[in-house]
């Protein structure tokens, strides 16, 4: 299967959302996706993009077939005050039927290359501890599990807690 990697364009948002939902389903949290195509478009292709996206596209069986978007990676730049810029990999997914062809490896290689070129000292992301295939994929390539090795835990405040904290209390 021939495929190519390219930068996402505004026209890709519906494919991106489709793949986001497929990945959420794999992670057993599909009902948590409330983002719409409109928000993806504004947030990724507006004046200040919140994210960047690379797409894996196959050519199709014959030249008459439309190309198909079969994988993607969404990332942005974060900052570690100890070592500087980091590339944060937010989403990374290849459709089930297209696995085992090297597409995932190629996306990861492309992102690592991009990280080095943009002066990032590391590439970071989260993985659910029950996701053995993904954990092994990354560990084989030299990734460290910081939650296991250093004890970092991920915390979140949701909208309600955020609103409560933002309103100044009577001190």
């Amino acid at each position: 299967m021939d495929y190519k990697l390219r930068k996402a364009e505004p026209k890709d948002v519906s494919d991106i959302l489709r793949l986001v939902k497929e990945l959420a389903k794999y992670e057993e949290m599909e009902h948590q996706v409330t983002l719409t195509e409109k928000e993806l478009l504004e947030d990724g292709f507006g004046d200040t993009p919140f994210y960047h996206c690379v797409i894996a596209e196959t050519q199709g069986e014959s030249s008459r077939d439309d190309p198909r978007v079969v994988g993607f990676a969404m990332y942005y730049f974060t900052y570690d005050p100890w070592v500087g810029k980091q590339l944060y990999l937010e989403e990374f997914y290849v459709m089930d039927e297209c696995r085992g062809l090297g597409i995932g490896s190629e996306i990861l290689r492309h992102l690592s290359d991009l990280a080095m070129k943009t002066r990032c000292t590391g590439m970071m992301f989260v993985v659910a501890e029950n996701n053995e295939p993904s954990l092994q994929f990354y560990k084989r390539r030299g990734a460290e599990d910081l939650s296991q090795e250093e004890g970092w835990r991920l915390f979140r405040f949701d909208k309600d807690s955020l609103v409560k904290m933002a309103t100044p209390a009577e001190e």
């Binding site: 005050p81 500087g84 995932g104 290689r109 690592s112 659910a128 991920l154 955020l162």
Partner: protein
């Protein structure tokens, strides 16, 4: 105690750098700090900054034993959730030990939450070390959930030689 919370300026980078090191010492990883106030200045005060910073300042009469008036900071940046949209990630929150218990930490956290709200962010995320009970309790009291416990998320990183190797080859599965 009088204190004020304001956006950091370029000139605050030396103080911020000092406190980054103090926080790293507390987290038992001081040898991992590799950048200085110069890189912070370059990365935080350029045209498209990679982070935002708030500082807590006390008046001259209440300065620290060593003479510092900038006594706390919060360093954060914007991230993206494909499920919910724009998010704030609070990378560092620190108040010097002699200024704790006076509401400065809460003040910094509230200010970050306020910024998040203004930017239409739907979440505030951060990471805490598992042994750091005072911090875990501080955030839990304000309504944070420990996602590593409730959903099993682990932080993963590629850096140094491993990142380099990854960039240079496409290994077979």
């Amino acid at each position: 105690m009088n204190f004020k919370i304001r956006a950091a300026s370029k000139e605050d980078c030396k103080d911020i750098s000092r406190m980054i090191m103090e926080l790293a010492v507390y987290e038992k990883m001081p040898d991992q700090v590799k950048i200085s106030h110069e890189e912070l200045q370059r990365d935080g005060f350029c045209q498209n900054p990679f982070f935002q910073c708030l500082v807590a300042e006390v008046p001259e009469e209440q300065k620290s034993k060593e003479g510092f008036t900038v006594v706390g900071y919060a360093l954060y940046f914007y991230t993206y959730s494909t499920w919910k949209g724009p998010t704030v990630f609070l990378e560092d929150l620190y108040v010097m030990p002699e200024f704790r218990g006076k509401g400065i930490g809460k003040g910094l956290l509230s200010k970050v939450a306020e910024v998040a709200k203004k930017k239409q962010c739907v979440r505030l995320q951060l990471s805490v070390l598992d042994w750091n009970t005072p911090s875990r309790d501080f955030y839990a009291a304000k309504g944070a959930q420990d996602l590593t416990v409730t959903e099993g998320w682990h932080f993963i990183r590629f850096d140094g030689q491993n990142l380099d190797n990854l960039a240079n080859e496409a290994p077979k599965d």
